[in-house]
């Protein structure tokens, strides 16, 4: 069995030896980067600066909540508002791999700028095993370029450190638990690095972000309510995706023509294989009614995704 305590001890020792000088870490507030930040913080203390990039593709209230939480852990956090830069560079981009490449590169450029200002020569990432496995290389086919692996440009100004590289999500959670993080952090559902941009299956413009952000919040809230009511177990991951098509509907005897939201929820251990969640119809209906009512001008239909992985991946792009 995986021994989290032994892992922490060995990792802190290695990090202490490897990182001589200032380091920065890209944090999203997710499980992986938060665990990596706490681990590196243990090793090098105040020499670590956490950089939280607001890409414009974060979930509802996420930037504020994450900043407050990371601050409360005693970490040294810098928030970079890069919404405008991300929206600008992704204008007109529809191809999923191109999206991921642009996002990955922009992330790195921003981290380079911060590193230069901070005089940091080490850059820490919360990369975990599925990130580099799915990004491909050599014999392995590229399934999708994770922003922290496949999206990296060839020329980079600093040394990259990835303390969680061989771990899977469930192991990272054990490490988080042993590091004393609260359950709502180490138990958090995964969220992709490129954020909501890969849950918009066309151009990821601000208007589409607004729609999918609201839909994601509704899916999360309604599922969590159903869990509290005892109707279901919390899935491994659950979210909404804005599909690139429109369908006809009717509102008060008037024809509408709006977008389609797909609801995705899966059961998994490590994200490498998954089964779709058997969500009760009461919860699905609550999601559908709320999305089509609150987003009535934008969304005319809600569908539920019943695909396992394989053949489908968990996220759509």
């Amino acid at each position: 069995m995986f021994d989290a305590d032994r892992f922490i001890e060995a990792a802190v020792e290695q990090l202490r030896q490897r990182i001589g000088g200032n380091a920065i870490i890209g944090v999203s507030g997710g499980v992986d980067s938060t665990v990596a930040a706490v681990l590196v913080g243990k090793a090098v203390g105040k020499n670590l600066r956490c950089v939280l990039v607001d890409t414009g593709y974060m979930r509802k209230n996420e930037v504020e909540n994450n900043q407050a939480f990371l601050d409360s852990l005693g970490l040294n956090v810098l928030v970079v508002d890069a919404k405008g830069r991300f929206y600008e560079q992704l204008r007109g981009v529809v191809d999923p791999e191109k999206k991921r490449a642009i996002i990955g590169e922009l992330f790195i450029r921003i981290f380079e700028e911060v590193a230069r200002k901070e005089g940091a020569s080490f850059f820490v990432q919360g990369t975990i095993a599925p990130d580099w496995i799915e990004s491909g290389g050599g014999l392995r086919d590229r399934i999708k370029s994770h922003h922290n692996v496949g999206g990296l440009p060839e020329k980079i100004d600093f040394e990259i450190v990835e303390p969680l590289r061989d771990l899977y999500k469930d192991e990272v959670r054990l490490v988080g638990e042993r590091l004393g993080l609260p359950q709502e952090i180490y138990g958090r559902q995964p969220f992709p690095g490129p954020g909501l941009a890969v849950r918009i299956l066309s151009e990821a413009d601000p208007e589409s972000v607004r729609i999918v952000r609201e839909a994601c919040a509704i899916v999360e809230e309604e599922i969590e309510r159903a869990v509290v009511r005892g109707e279901m177990r919390r899935p491994w991951q659950y979210f909404a995706v804005l599909l690139p098509c429109k369908t006809v509907g009717v509102h008060g005897d008037v024809r509408i023509y709006g977008s389609v939201i797909s609801v995705r929820a899966v059961e998994s251990l490590d994200g490498m294989s998954a089964a779709y969640s058997k969500i009760p119809h009461s919860a699905l209906e609550a999601i559908s009614v709320r999305i089509t009512n609150t987003l009535k001008d934008e969304v005319s239909r809600v569908v539920f995704d019943i695909t396992n992985k394989p053949p489908g991946t968990i996220e759509y792009e």
Partner: protein
């Protein structure tokens, strides 16, 4: 009984190569992932697992590196998974090629022969699949399990310590997957006596 057999994972570029490594580690094996170009004489393991991978068996088998050398010259038990099984069957005089009905994700496995791999397991259970190709003929092998759309889901060689599965025991969604790998490791442990 020695509790840490050395069982290495031969990487054929699969999405789940690392999963095999992980489950073997959890079972208590001494394990590592080795490239499929590793020379037989450099392998100090007691057993091997040939991972799956993207190469298509009919026209991309050169991408499977030295896997056929392992089948010829490696001294211990070998478990072939997915394309690893297909190569095993082909190498022993069988046939493999595109599946009539490829399987992805969920499938129901029906065990015909318990043998070593399915020791202590139910006759039917759910497994995870991901294959475009399959074994068509496997002379010299006993077929241990089938699914609705695939007639060769698990085999054992009649004389050599070769085992193969078309489905993926290493992924978490496969029922009893860890137990199947444990059964394979037990075969290795018994031979070490």
């Amino acid at each position: 009984m020695s509790d840490s057999s050395r069982v290495y994972v031969v990487d054929n570029g699969g999405q789940w190569t690392h999963r095999i490594w992980r489950v073997l580690r959890e079972i208590g094996c001494e394990t590592k992932i080795i490239p499929n170009t590793t020379l037989v004489k450099e392998i100090d393991a007691e057993g091997l697992v040939l991972s799956g991978g993207a190469p298509r068996i009919a026209w991309e088998s050169p991408k499977l590196g030295n896997c056929t050398d392992y089948l010829n010259d490696f001294h211990g038990p070998i478990l072939g998974i997915c394309v690893g099984l297909q190569l095993m069957a082909l190498h022993c005089g069988g046939k493999a090629g595109p599946s009539g009905v490829p399987e992805f994700g969920l499938a129901r496995l029906r065990v015909l022969e318990e043998d070593d791999l399915f020791k202590g397991l139910p006759k039917e259970f759910l497994v995870w699949e991901s294959h475009n190709d399959e074994v068509k003929e496997a002379p010299g092998f006993l077929v241990l399990a089938v699914s609705d759309n695939c007639g060769v889901q698990a085999v054992k060689h009649l004389r050599k310590p070769f085992y193969g599965v078309q489905f993926h025991p290493e992924v978490n969604n496969t029922e009893h997957g860890e137990k199947i790998l444990r059964n394979f490791v037990d075969v290795i442990r018994k031979r070490q006596y």
